[in-house]
Amino acid sequence: MKETNEAMQEVRAVCDAAAVAEGEVLRVEADGMPPLAVYKLDGNYFVTADTCTHGEASLSEGFIEGGAVECPWHNGKFCIRTGAALDFPATVALQTWPVSVIEGKVCIPIQPAAGTPPASNKGTTCRAN
């Protein structure tokens, strides 16, 4: 379902916002995209690639602490907000997508954008810190 966000980008829904519990991560498979990981931290939603850049592990099976996700295979750590690689053996950043929540659905732009924190969450149910 295509909507537009505040910046008038076309977005697509990847999952129900209610499907992601606070402090948890949900793996989402969307057509034409690599597997995604949808996180909820302090009421805000974030989306990164689900596949670890160090191996083939699914980060949604990993461990979340302090705003970072730790890969279950080799403990490489990534910043959920920016995708940055934080801890060995992760060295390559995760792709991230800016998130908007529209009508209870977590949405990302149709065109993927890498590496930047959500530029604006105005008018959504998420509040940037």
Binding site: H54, F63, E65, N75, F88, P89, T91, V92
Partner: protein, 346 residues
């Protein structure tokens, strides 16, 4: 309830470990979930075998295990609460069911076993590193770059040391050991008398020499990380199929006393280049040191003729050194993760 590393594990008979959706294997009394699986020939993921890296994490689904090291840094308390354990620190108390992701790359090419070995002799390598020779019955089977766990007779902790020699039919296991102030195992090894026995469990290690005939080899090491590099390099030179590959060894120490006479361990060879560096300039002052001063990885772009991404890398030594170098290789020089084999000495 967990106990300390020094007490004996609970199971007095062999137990069975069943991997959910996969094979089962027998675990001898006192053996760990990880090692028993490797002995049975299964590809359980691991790296350090010492509780530091977390690579051997598994989920305990049924049964109970004793935790050899409750404070092991490789796993968090929260992960334990969710039923995760370290395979290298878990000794089954009875039959268990576990969830472990097996991978072909971890299937041991030489099955690890436990055996006794006799101390023969040793020789100096640097100011605080000696190379020790042990003889065990049967052939010494391992891959260049692997390590084994050594334990002194009479119990006590075990430590991982890399083999510096080549696999051989005579049963010779050769290790380089750094004397550590207050070190329980290194102190005992340095005090061994000829003929004394030690317990060896091995081989282990995933940073072993690979056949990559198209790629030249770069070895980077610090401290007793020299041992696996000596093995990898001599192993490369001994394999005619790998002929033609050039080899670089970058070795870093704090001062000139940390740099060995490398020709005593790797025969001078036109295809091998040795580039040592000392990191503390004050230690080089007033000596005859004419080598590089700085961090070892800074030498790479200056000394290697090709793009760094063209080489196959082997690294061994302290975790911070390895993590910094691997990060630089991947981030700054585009080296693929598959071309880097490292052994972090936790």
């Amino acid at each position: 309830m967990s106990t300390t590393a020094e007490t004996t594990p609970q199971a007095q008979a062999a137990t069975t470990v069943r991997i959910a959706g996969g094979p089962s294997y027998s675990c001898a009394p006192g053996d760990t979930v990880l090692r028993a699986g490797l002995r049975a020939g299964f590809g359980l993921p691991y790296e350090c075998n010492a509780g530091g890296c977390g690579s051997c994490k598994f989920e305990l689904i049924a049964g109970s295990v004793e935790d050899l090291w409750v404070e092991a840094p490789g796993i968090r308390a929260k992960e334990r609460e969710r039923g995760r354990r370290l395979g290298c620190q878990s000794v089954p108390r009875g039959d268990c069911e576990v969830k472990i992701r097996l991978a072909d790359s971890y299937v041991p090419q030489c099955l690890p076993r436990r055996f006794e070995a006799r101390y023969i002799c040793s020789r100096a390598v640097t100011a605080d590193i000696r190379e020790f020779d042990f003889l065990a019955p049967g052939a010494a089977s391992f891959l260049p770059g692997q390590y084994a766990m050594l334990r002194l007779t009479g119990g006590g902790p075990e430590r991982a040391y890399s083999m510096s020699n080549q696999p051989n039919a005579q049963g010779l296991w050769r290790f380089m050991v750094r004397s550590v102030a207050g070190g329980k195992v290194s102190t005992g090894l340095f005090a061994l008398e000829a003929g004394a026995e030690v317990s060896i469990d091995g081989p282990y290690g995933i940073a072993h020499l690979r056949p990559t005939p198209q790629r030249d080899i770069v070895c980077i090491a610090g401290g007793s990380g020299l041992a696996p590099m000596v093995s990898v390099i001599n192993g490369t030179l001994a394999q005619p199929a790998q002929g033609g590959r050039d080899v670089w060894l970058f070795y870093g120490g704090r001062g000139p006393g940390d740099i060995p006479r490398i020709e005593e361990f790797i025969h001078p060879h036109p295809r091998v280049r040795f580039h040592p560096a000392v990191s503390v300039p004050e230690l080089a002052q007033g000596t005859t040191w004419t080598g590089e001063i700085g961090m070892v990885h800074e030498l790479l772009p200056r000394k290697l003729p090709h793009a760094l991404a063209d080489y196959e890398y082997y690294l061994a030594g302290p975790p911070p050194m390895i993590e910094a170098v691997v990060g630089t290789l991947q981030t700054d020089h585009g080296v693929a993760a598959q071309a880097i084999h490292y052994d972090r000495f936790f």
